[in-house]
Each structure stands twice: as C-alpha cells, then as structure tokens.
C-alpha cells in the first residue's frame, strides 16, 4: 500500500514540476518574442513614415535602411569602434573616480560630525548646479583634452554618489551598530563590515543614477569640443549635414546606456546575492 503511495507521490511531483517548467519557459519565450516584436514595430513604423508621408525629406529624416547603409562602412573601417572606445574610456574613468571620491566623501560626512557640519551648506549648494553649466569654464581652464572630459564626468557623477552614500550611512539601523559594538568591532571594522554593507542598497542606487548622469555629461563635454567620441561623431554629422550619422550616434548612446545599466544590475546580482534577492 505504502509502496503504491510513494509511486503516486513521485509521479505527482514529476508531473507538477514538468508543467511548472513548461509554464515558465512559455512565459520567458513570449516575453522575449514581444520584446523583439516591439523593436520591429518601431523600426517598421520608422521605415514606413518617409514612404507614406508625402514631401518628407529623407536627408533630414533617414529611414533605418539608410542609417544602416551609412553604419556598415563606418563599422568596417573601425571608425565607429574607435569613437565608442574613446567615449567609454572617458565615461568609465570619470565614473570610477567619482565612485571612489563619492563613497569616501559620503562615509566621512555621515560618520564624522565635523565633516558633516562643514560640508552641509556647500554640498547642498553645489549639487543644485547642473554640471553641464560647468562645460564652458572647463574648456577655458582645461581645454578640450581628455582630462577636461574625465573631470566633467567625474564632477557630474560625484554628487549623486556622495548624497546616496551619505543618506545610506546616516540611516544605518542603530541595532546593527550596537550589534557590531558588543561583538567587539572597532571603528574601522564597523565601517568596513557593517556600515558599508548596510548602506549598500542606497549606494548602489546612487551609482546607478550616477551612471546615467555620466552619459549626459559625457555628451555635453564632447559636443563642446573634441576630436573623437560618439557625440563628437554626431557633431561632425551635424556640420556635414549627415543626419544618418547623427542617428547612428543617438542609437549608439541609447544602446550604451542600456547595456551599462544591464551590466550594472547583473554585476550587483552576482556580487551581492543577499541584496539581489531581497530587493
């Protein structure tokens, strides 16, 4: 009797799991399909507009096929990859500098009262200035070299990281701090093993925001004067009346921003399993 029951139980489980997996697969495939359909619909509409709307100048509004025609040779000649590499290097370097400085500043101002009170008015004053407003000054001071662009990106990304870290560290639950103290942790150990990880959700949110800001500042800096880069390529397209090239730049920026954000989320999931599963 019990043997038959066991077989029945096993069969029910196997059956249930098979159906469950099938349902999950169907959901995943249909999501992917709809994603692709959405992109295709957008491209189709874009392609159709110049053919349907009378008197539309395709030089000013090139359809995707025209953009693709311009893209092919630029990609094969290595021109595009070079622009991308230059832009990524500027954004990456600026973002990295901002991350180190922003988290350090956030930790210090949130944990050391003197620094907090010293920086309070300055922080709130400076952070309300859009970094794009600094572009003309940076050109005067630093020229149009790499340093100027990296510095601008770092400036723009610094403030969101500082503020997010500050709030995250300031609001660490007092029970965590007390737990650390009565387990024998000193000031530095508490900072490293308790305060930083406890503030991590907010720090990560700040980093993600800073990533988006980096791209905005990068474009502004490259438009103000550069000799290479995705936005430089667009500004050349502007001067040469090549709207197709400008479109390539727009699509590249969209793709880069999207990929950077996805990469960030994937990295967080991998590095902080406890965070990714709770949020």
């Amino acid at each position: 009797m019990s043997g038959r029951d066991d077989a029945w139980v096993r069969e029910a489980e196997v059956d249930f799991l098979a159906r469950h997996r099938r349902r999950q697969r169907v959901a995943w495939v249909s999501r992917l399909l709809l994603n692709v359909v959405g992109v295709c619909a957008f491209l189709g509409l874009w392609e159709a507009i110049p053919r349907v709307v009378p008197d539309l100048n395709t030089t000013l509004f090139p359809p995707p096929s025209a953009v693709w025609e311009a893209f092919g040779p630029m990609l094969l000649s290595g021109e595009i990859t070079q622009h991308i590499a230059v832009s990524l290097r500027r954004a990456g370097l600026g973002f990295a500098i901002a991350t180190v400085l922003g988290i350090t500043a956030g930790l210090l101002t949130a944990r050391v009262t003197v620094f907090h009170h010293l920086s309070e008015p300055l922080l709130h004053g400076f952070r309300s200035i859009p970094v794009i407003a600094l572009v003309p000054i940076s050109v005067l001071w630093l020229g149009i070299g790499e340093g100027a662009k990296v510095a601008l990106v770092a400036c723009g990304a610094f403030f969101p990281i500082w503020i997010a870290t500050f709030i995250g560290v300031r609001d660490v639950h007092v029970v965590y701090l007390r737990s650390a103290a009565c387990l024998g942790a000193g000031r530095l150990a508490t900072m490293l093993w308790v305060v930083l990880p406890a503030a991590l959700p907010l720090i990560l949110a700040g980093l993600r925001q800073a990533l988006a800001v980096s791209l905005i500042v990068l474009v502004a800096a490259e438009l103000a004067g550069a000799t290479a880069g995705v936005a430089y390529m667009m500004s050349m397209g502007h001067q040469l009346f090549r709207v197709d090239v400008m479109f390539i730049g727009l699509l590249l920026l969209g793709a880069l921003g999207f990929l950077a954000d996805r990469l960030f989320v994937a990295l967080v999931k991998r590095l902080f399993p406890w965070y990714a599963t709770t949020h």
Partner: protein
C-alpha cells in the same frame, strides 16, 4: 556566589520634547550573581530596556555606577553578549558568517572560528541552515542564530531585550526551553527583559518587578524551583498571579 553585574544607585535622565527632563531610572540598585538568570519585568516606560543598555554600555548613567565582573562598564564589549528583539542579524552575512563575526573581531584564527561556529550552530539546532541568509530563515531561527552569535564569544553575561516578543507563541515556548538548556550548559549570567509574565515565571530564578514614572525597582521575587518548569502546575499558577499582583501594585502607585 560572586556578583557578576552590580548596579548601584543608578539614575538615568533624558531630555523631553517639552524641554524638561524625564527620569527613565531613579536610584536603581540591582545585582546579578554569576550564573544567575534574572528577568526584568514591568510596564512600558519603567526603564527595563534602559537598564539593560546601561549594562551593555550603549548608554552611560547620569548618576551611579554599573560594574560587570568587578570592572566599571565603559564601551560595549564582547564580555557582554546582547540579543535584541529583532533585525539585529547582519542581512549581508549568512548564519555562519554572523556567528563568526565576533570571533573574527577577536582575532580568532580561521580553523578555530569555523569549528566554534559549527559547534554553536549545532547547539541551537541549525547546522543545516549555516549558509542561509537571515531573510531565508524564519523568525524563530533568526533568534536562534542571534543567541548563538552572542554566546559563541563566551561572554560573562548575556543581555536579552525581549528577544522572543516577535515570534509566535508555539515557537516562543520552544525557544524558551532551548535557552534554559543553553544557559545551564554555558553557566552564563542572564539579564532578560520581558513584558510577558508567563515568560518571566518560566525562565527566571529571580523576577525583578519594575514600575514606571520614574523607573524604579518595585520588588523582587525568588523562584527557587528547578527548570524546566511545568506551566500546568499549581506553583506556576501561584507565581504567575503573584507577579501579576506586583505589577498591578506598581501601576496603582502611578495612577
């Protein structure tokens, strides 16, 4: 028996929002012997948690002295383990890492750390859950890890601040029985804050009844019966009623 915790004429004042001063504790004296299990019970505002925080070193008294093992209490330290009501486990560490944290801070070597953490987990019956994060544990399991984390440092005293208040009644009864077993094994002195009469009478060798506004010790009751106690016994019912009456007396003084 020698005294493990000595609280002498301690007062604690806090500023109120209206600009006055309120007495969380007024002239409180209490001592806990080495290896003794004492429950502090009282209405909210009687300063029982404040008293516990003073022993832990989270606060320093406005007046009076607090000594643990003969030495005045300064900062919090690993000689006094604390178990909080909840949310005290580090969410970014597994159960094992939480337990090993204190040992790491004390500079205990890797091999010994692993061995002691494994033993501590085993003692609270969570050997299987070693690599789970707190959010993957039930409320009762989390408090078991918290107890293991406090005890693995082999503290002189264990301070517990309503540690089982947030778990369901059935789990609480199991946790209480297991705590008694751990207490007897380790020989640690326990100062346990609760607002639950049943809990105090079940656990304590001595119940300290406190009153509010200002926070004071109203009376003490020694329960010289072996543990674990039978909740259905006549003696248990008698103690329960006794503590209840003492608490009501305390409230009347206020009203």
């Amino acid at each position: 028996m020698s005294a493990s915790i000595e609280i002498e004429r301690v007062s604690q004042l806090f500023p109120t929002r209206e600009g006055g001063a309120s007495w969380a504790l007024r002239d409180v004296s209490l001592s806990v012997a080495a290896g003794e299990f004492v429950c502090l019970i009282g209405p909210s505002g009687c300063g029982k948690t404040t008293l516990l925080h003073l022993v832990a070193g989270f606060l320093s008294p406005t007046a009076g002295t607090v000594r643990v093992g003969g030495r005045p209490v300064g900062k919090p330290g690993p000689d006094r383990g604390v178990v909080f009501q909840e949310y005290a486990l580090f969410a970014w560490m597994t159960a094992r890492q939480n337990i090993e944290f204190g040992l790491r801070m004390l500079g205990v070597g890797r091999a010994e750390r692993h061995a002691r953490a494994a033993e501590a987990l085993d003692r609270v019956g969570l050997a299987r859950a070693a690599d789970r994060y707190p959010h993957e544990l039930s409320g009762g399991m989390r408090q078991r890890v918290a107890v293991a984390r406090a005890l693995v440092n082999r503290p002189q005293v264990l301070l517990m601040d309503e540690p089982f208040a947030a778990v369901d009644a059935m789990t609480r009864a199991t946790l209480q029985a297991d705590l008694l077993a751990l207490w007897r094994e380790s020989g640690v002195s326990v100062m346990f804050v609760t607002h639950n009469i049943d809990e105090a009478v079940y656990l304590a060798q001595r119940v300290v009844v406190m009153g509010a506004h200002p926070g004071t010790v109203r009376s003490e009751l020694v329960l010289d019966a072996p543990c674990p106690r039978d909740r259905g016994s006549a003696a248990f019912a008698g103690w329960y009623a006794d503590v209840g009456r003492r608490l009501e007396d305390g409230v009347e003084v206020v009203a």
